[in-house]
Amino acid sequence: MAENKWLPRWFYQLASPRWCYDITGKLLPIFVILTLLTLVTGTVWALAFAPADYQQGNSFRIIYIHVPASILAQSCYMLMALAGAIGLIWKMKVADMVAKSCAPIGASLAILSLVTGAIWGKPTWGSWWVWDARLTSMLILLFLYLGVIALNSAIESERTAAQSTAVLALVGLVNIPIIKYSVDWWNTLHQPATFTLTERPAMPAEMWVPLLVMVIGFYCFFAVVMMLRLRNEIIQRERRSRWVRTLITG
């Protein structure tokens, strides 16, 4: 492969499914340990040690699930669109696989964010669902994910499916800020002065430090699940190659 001035070497190595399979195999245990450490610490801290909110009491502890899930659902879409773009531009098979693996994880995180938001809404607002701007945006993000998954499963050829999904994800990425802005604006028009879930006076450190730990934990968890799915995809698509054959028989 020709050396390129602008792109580092590992970028090209990423394009090799085998290299990717090996490196994720090495990284996986590290991330599993990191995930377990951060999530267990974060959860215990969040549930037992963080102080209760003076307004919402202990139902506030849902934030430690809700916010990381929401952040990750959004980052996951970014990653999916980015990987899709790389797949389109450099025709990199591994990038296509990453994009494909992102969609179901992101959708499940969006669902988690919506469900915890609804559960949090019950004691806070008195109803399971409120057309709050953030919840509505998250619902639309879930729809975008579902569209991507539906398109990917509708197209039989793997290559075409990956490319079409990448275009759709990129279109969605361009639209996300517009959707977000319009929903925020719509919300302020229809519901002036509602109490929002996450906009509050600055949180004390005892509250946000465990939140940070949980966010990091969720990111590590995402990395683990992502690698698991990516490795499956690699084996599935490279099943004809010799190294996968020896991997399976040996």
Binding site: N58, I62, V115, T116, I119, I235
Partner: protein, 59 residues
């Protein structure tokens, strides 16, 4: 520690149902996310092993 007793910890100041429900669902989502690819991996491996055996018999 923010709670006096274990019962109080479970009750969460009257919001126990909501808090534990959220954490339970989060756990369920995470477990599904981990188990699903693992099952898939096993399925791929057995499928491919069967295919390789079949091809060996033919040749």
């Amino acid at each position: 520690m923010n709670f006096e007793s274990f019962a109080e910890f479970i009750d969460m100041g009257g919001h126990g149902l909501y808090v534990w429900l959220s954490y339970g669902i989060a756990l369920a989502v995470m477990v599904i996310n981990v188990v699903n690819p693992l099952m898939h991996k096993r399925q791929i491996f057995s499928e491919q092993a069967r295919r390789l055996r079949r091809e060996k018999q033919k040749s």
